[in-house]
């Protein structure tokens, strides 16, 4: 009888330890996704700042151009992934407009200020891609945990749901290519 009790006790202990370990693993994975998520926020803000400066420079050169009608970007705290993807698309669209205007104004394109900002945007784009890849890698890992037994069981108990990937246009998946 005592042996049976010991075996049951050991099994219960193993179950409790496993539950705690898996639960902690899920918490860690979730925290990593949140950290990566904030990395995207930082990168988007940097992109926004550099683009704003570029838009100001372009507007000063081409006051009457139609292309200078830039889309309004609204970055704020607590945005969903989908909202951020939309704002990021607007930024890409504005960047394309900036390039079109720069093509029409050679003196703008060759100005020191514009070239410095273009160099900065290359770096910012690269940081954004790194943040996006890191976020997606962590989301992928987290989502895999949610569908793998026995983690899936504990994830269900905790009410955890799959997280959304930060998708971008196909072209953005390559390394940044910008003509300087």
């Amino acid at each position: 009888m005592e042996i049976v009790l010991i075996i049951v006790g050991v099994l219960v202990l193993i179950c409790v330890i496993s539950f705690i370990a898996i639960s902690n693993g899920l918490n860690r994975a979730s925290v990593k996704v949140e950290e990566a998520d904030s990395g995207i926020d930082v990168a988007l803000t940097k992109r926004y700042d550099v683009l704003t400066k570029m838009m100001d420079v372009v507007k000063a050169y081409a006051k009457h151009e139609k292309e200078t009608l830039f889309e309004v970007i609204n970055l704020r705290k607590g945005m969903s992934v989908e909202e951020r993807i939309q704002e990021n698309k607007k930024m890409s669209s504005n960047f394309e407009k900036i390039q079109v205007v720069a093509e029409a104004y050679p003196e703008l394109k060759s100005s020191e200020n514009y070239r410095t900002l273009q160099q900065a945007i290359v770096e910012v784009e690269e940081h954004l891609q790194a943040a996006r890849r890191m976020y997606n890698a962590n989301v992928s890992k987290f989502n895999q945990m949610l569908v793998t037994f026995p983690t899936s069981m504990i994830a269900n108990m905790k009410g955890l749901k799959k997280k959304e990937f930060f998708q971008t246009e196909e072209v953005k998946k390559e390394d940044v290519k910008i003509d300087l």
Binding site: Q119, A130, R133, E174, V176
Partner: protein, 294 residues
Amino acid sequence: MEQEMEQLRKDALKKQRIMIFIPFISFFTVALLTQLTPILFVLFVPIAYVIYKVVTSFSKANKKYQDLYKKTVVIETFKNIFQDVNFNLDQGISYQKISETKMMDMGDSFSSNDYVCGKYKDISFESSDVEITETRTDSDGDSYTVTLFRGQWYIFDFNKSFKADLQVCEKGFSNSRRGGLFSKTPFKKVELEDMEFNKLFKVYAQNELDAFYVLTPNTMENIKKLLSKINGKLLLCFINERLHIGVESNKDFYEASLRKKVDIPSSIEKTKNEISVITDFIDILRLDNDLFKK
């Protein structure tokens, strides 16, 4: 020049043969004589002295030959491919530079020679042969020497600015410093999205985001390409805006074989082949792309 080199090679080869032959015969003879008359054991003392002289004589002859070979073949080949070449046969990349990468244990004996620095496509590089060993003691109290790293170490200018250090170590490298459940290193293991890359390399970074920033999908593809061109385990460390690359080839580069007759054209080809590692690193990893450099 070729004749002079050949003469030096023959001289070194002769001394090498003597170096192998004399100790063998001497010890065998003295051991036999000692069996007959134990007092003849004292003969070991002059024999040890003779062996010392023979070994020293071979080392000098070999160094003379190797130095002339490197000056005639290696340095000239380097100068034809690279700019601002500087060669130092007796020195190498410093202990401190390699140690600060924290890629591996540095053992208790460090040697480095055949230092070369220069520029290729305007990218500065330096390289040298490196050997790191450690003396250990087994359970019987006998000491033995373990080679922790033997190969080439390269340092290149890197074309991206990053804050935290990053290490990429090919799996199977036995002297990897990372790992361990209770490791207190500031480096954290990073899993990238490229499964094949994760299978081939272990990546450690002080900051996960920097790992993703430096190791873009293209860079990972290029590192995999490099791997297929290199004989030996590959280590990469991104530190202080420079890229350190270690190749554990288990041999020294730019050495002349004593057994092969001097043939300058084929030696130049062999050197070009060894040098191509440096140009490959710069070309394949596209280190000359200054798009990201401020």
